[in-house]
């Protein structure tokens, strides 16, 4: 009986590492200084063109809050002109901090949805942020925000031109920490992941402190361990603009196998 159990455990372990490879350790994060216009870009690719359901997630440690009525862009694929796809921003609206996701159905923003969540990210504390989009849902339930693995609800949505039921496939570059040439993020970021699927609450929570190298529906995975490469296998190599730096200050240390960290790891 013991032998059988051991065999099953061994098979399950092998299956996990095949289905869900993880990195050895989380060694670095990236520091973006807004005052020096620092950010990352990735060239437009099929994998970054999210046209339907998706999940954006990453760790963030804010250095300063956005100025009054100013925006800091987190993840963005929007040239603010004729190639508008999606954008996640943290901003100040008359003294209240908010997180909002813009989803453009048309490249010139004649049809889009925006969902805003009132949430103040703390300064100097690592926070895991995930936002999930179910594109076919009405705007009231289109997006859900998770902070440190805990749902913050659906936010307040606005539809323009009828609202987005798909996301435009534009050619704009993807930016981490900026939009067009401005609205820079003042923060450290780590383990940025883009999925073209709705990740469940359990998946988000269980994997927030795991570096995932590749998985089904994982479109991009930047560990930012002192490298610019994409671990998802989709070759979305980052370009560092204006010399952002890497820091050994990280939100979690290692990619600990599930048996040692949590029983909640969800197999793909």
């Amino acid at each position: 009986m013991k032998k059988v159990l051991k065999t099953i455990l061994a098979i399950l372990t092998i299956f996990f590492f095949i289905a869900y490879p993880v990195s050895a350790a989380n060694t670095h994060s990236a520091t973006l200084v807004a005052a020096s216009s620092q950010y990352f870009t990735a060239t437009d690719s099929v994998s970054l063109s999210l046209t339907e359901n998706n999940t954006l997630e990453f760790w963030i440690k804010l250095t300063s809050q956005p100025a009054s009525d100013a925006y800091m862009f987190l993840i963005n694929k929007d040239d603010i002109a004729s190639q508008r796809s999606y954008g996640l921003t943290y901003y100040d609206a008359a003294g209240t901090q908010k997180i909002a996701l813009y989803l453009f159905q048309t490249l010139t923003a004649t049809i889009y949805s925006v969902v805003a969540f009132t949430y103040t990210l703390p300064i100097g504390t690592w926070t895991h942020l995930a936002i999930v989009t179910t594109i076919a849902n009405p705007v009231a339930t289109k997006c859900e925000l998770f902070i440190n693995g805990i749902s913050q609800g659906n936010g307040v949505g606005t539809d323009v031109g009828g609202g987005a039921t798909s996301i435009a496939d534009g050619t704009a570059i993807l930016q981490l920490g900026a939009r067009a040439a401005g609205e820079y993020l003042d923060a450290q970021i780590d383990d940025v992941r883009i999925w073209n699927i709705v990740r469940t609450a359990a998946q988000i929570d269980a994997n927030k402190a795991v570096e995932i190298d590749s998985a089904t529906n994982l479109q991009a995975s930047w560990h930012l361990n002192n490298v610019l490469t994409d671990s998802s296998g989709n070759a979305n190599t980052l370009t560092a603009v204006n010399s952002p730096t890497f820091s050994t200050d990280v939100p979690f240390v290692g990619a600990v196998p599930p048996s040692q960290e949590s029983d909640l790891i969800i197999f793909e």
Binding site: V33, A35, S36, S37, Q38, T41, T43, D79, I80, A81, Y102, A109, V114, T158, V160, I173, A181, V227, L228, T229, T237, L238, T239, A240, V241, N242, S243, T245
Partner: protein
């Protein structure tokens, strides 16, 4: 005759001295105060390329002829002259090639006028960093409220 000239010279003495001093100052100003600012994009490109040849990196220049927090000194010291206040130079670095072992560096000069935003890219990403985005033509304010982007 001479007395007549002398009288006239005495009469316009102050004017003559004024013109002489002004002329000398103007000449000195022209010679001693050359332009401290690059006038064309080509000049800035040459300066950036010279800087790269010397230091192995391009120099970031922020709006208002300012350097980013990680640089010391002044733009004039580094590039030879100042850069016009409305010019932004972003520098970039990426990796490529076999096992991502090759580093690529480049830069992007941006400015705007009344009608458009302009960007000129240099280096491996020159093509994707070169663009012109026309500024939106002002339209009448809509009556229905919409969410600000």
């Amino acid at each position: 005759m001479w007395n007549k000239i002398k009288t006239q010279l005495k009469r316009f003495k102050k004017w003559i001295i004024g013109f002489l001093i002004g002329g000398i100052a103007l000449a000195a100003g022209t010679i001693m105060l050359p332009s401290n600012e690059y006038k064309t994009i080509n000049e800035i490109v040459s300066a950036e390329n010279a800087y790269y040849a010397k230091y192995g990196k391009y120099l970031q220049v922020m709006l208002g002829n300012k350097l980013p927090h990680y640089e010391t000194g002044t733009i004039k010291e580094k590039l030879g002259k100042n850069v016009p206040a409305n010019i932004v130079i972003d520098v970039y670095e990426t990796v490529g090639g076999e096992n991502y072992q090759t580093k690529y560096k480049g830069y992007q000069i941006q400015y705007e006028d009344d009608t458009a935003y302009y960007s000129l890219g240099f280096g491996i990403q020159a093509k994707e960093r070169t663009w012109t985005i026309p500024k939106p033509v002002p339209t009448p304010v809509p009556t229905a409220s919409t969410t600000t982007l």
